[in-house]
Symmetry: C2
Subunit: 333 residues, 2 copies
Amino acid sequence: MGAATMADVARVAGVSKKTISNYFNGYPYIRPETRARIEAAVAELNYKLNVSARNLSSGRTGTIALAMPEIAHPYFAELAQSVVSAAQRRGLNVVVEVTDGDRERELALLRGENGRYVDGLLLHAIALTADDIASSTLDVPVVLIGDRVHEGRFDFVTVANVDGAYEMTRLLLQSGRRRILALGVDRAEADTAAALRFAGYARALAEAGVGLADDLLVGPLPWNRAEGARAVADARERGVDFDAVFGFNDALALGALGELQRRGVRVPDEVAVAGFDDVQEAALTFPPLTTLDPGREGIAERAVSRLAERLAAYDLPPELFVAVPRVVRRASA
Amino acid sequence: MGAATMADVARVAGVSKKTISNYFNGYPYIRPETRARIEAAVAELNYKLNVSARNLSSGRTGTIALAMPEIAHPYFAELAQSVVSAAQRRGLNVVVEVTDGDRERELALLRGENGRYVDGLLLHAIALTADDIASSTLDVPVVLIGDRVHEGRFDFVTVANVDGAYEMTRLLLQSGRRRILALGVDRAEADTAAALRFAGYARALAEAGVGLADDLLVGPLPWNRAEGARAVADARERGVDFDAVFGFNDALALGALGELQRRGVRVPDEVAVAGFDDVQEAALTFPPLTTLDPGREGIAERAVSRLAERLAAYDLPPELFVAVPRVVRRASA
DNA sequence: ATGAAAGCGCTAACAC
DNA sequence: GTGTTAGCGCTTTCAT
């Protein structure tokens, strides 16, 4: 048996292979009657274009890879959704690679260990160092997404972490809060989200003449909900006095919010709560969470469009795109 | 320039092309010294296997498509994660297709309109009819995932919706609840999740000698959080008396839970709340949500492994796999 | 354990 | 508008 080929379709339709190829590639100048004969032949033979053959011949795959630590986390799920939509709009398919935030897996992608199977790579790495990134031997375009700003060979799409955290902290200060529990602090590595968001927090406090208090800085810790809840429970147990919580991501903030409610603390009257990410759920809690919208759609769109540009034109200089988060004020702060 | 090919690597390593091919395909009988020369040549030339060429030559792509209505919804995000993991374990890549639950897009996939670009399709369709599915002209294996049981040409992986809803309703009845608000009811189409879960609910009530009350059946409505909240608000406004809420998915249940809290109704003391899906968040609310775990991991694993089986062996009879949901009892009911 | 040669099914250049 | 031809870079017999 064996599936029908273009040659078969050409024969049945009584035209040349090239015309069939034209048909499938959207070439406009095909006579309506020819077109009809082609369509009939395609239906008769149940012909399916062999994309592998096209790929080999054209040197492109029409596919990009999206690599990220995980999919199930709301932030990444929403990002993946936006990336896939943006890619679909451009006729690109998306292969999703899950790295578990494992440096080896991230490196493997930058080394192209699986061979050349996509036209480009969108990589949200979390474990790679600047040197790792510089050492890439990949021969297709790469666009990095993430928090650590890596100026270097690749395009980079990131979020204004410092400014975002600064704005949110200012909002809390303006509403009269002075003892703001910061969840997710980690100053060990300079360019992580944890360090950058802390920097914004610290800057706002300094500007307002409010001192940094060690007992209000919680971290390093994993940025998930359980830890957010635990941190708040802990602070209360230890008798730490605070009138606001700023979770450096929504998961931490939502965990904190839940724990405060469990303890009967009124939000925002007694304690205000703010997050960072604007995941869908943030709008749906009670009270809904005040947070920072990083502009996920914009990030995805920019990352995909930049990759698409590189697919078309080589030798573009690396570009840095910084999305500016927008404060989304809801009832929690 | 042009990237290096196997022939180049063969030349530099001083072996034949076939040996290079063997090397990349995990053929074990290659002398260590040969292997070393190959590796040196690969590094020197920065050679990347051309997967398109391999695909054309071998007639396989090593890639499957996962098509679903959306990614950002927690249920689908978690399913996608599990599918990608299961596929990675088998050395398969996953292309994610988003259909928006649009029948035309779902049909396009079953018609193979994009040509042959994957070895198989995992389709979580929500709009397709049995006829649509029967009309598929796709020439690669298809495994359907979903709520509507479609016995037919394709393998089908689903959840025991009736039994699950029955068990949960029994649990509520056993804890003394008699007026159970059912969220998401829709009896219009026989084999939808809405109809099946309702059937389980009704069966449990009947068995317990509790009558169906029209004012306790809410739907049809979209199965999201806002609707869950609205349904509860509505019921309370209208003075409907209920001592439990069974949301036919977690989104509805979580919306209901939030609304009850907003209104100061104690959960589960005054009203118990139960859901269906066991999304991650269900464990993290306050109180944590009692729900049904459909066994997402198992579903994903089964769907992928069935597809992998079909990739290897043709002419397997279609199989129906029904995951039995497990009650996860938490504090809300 | 390795080599030689024949395709896989398409695209792209160019001709008409 | 349509046809001809020469590859794209592998895998796969079949030999050795």
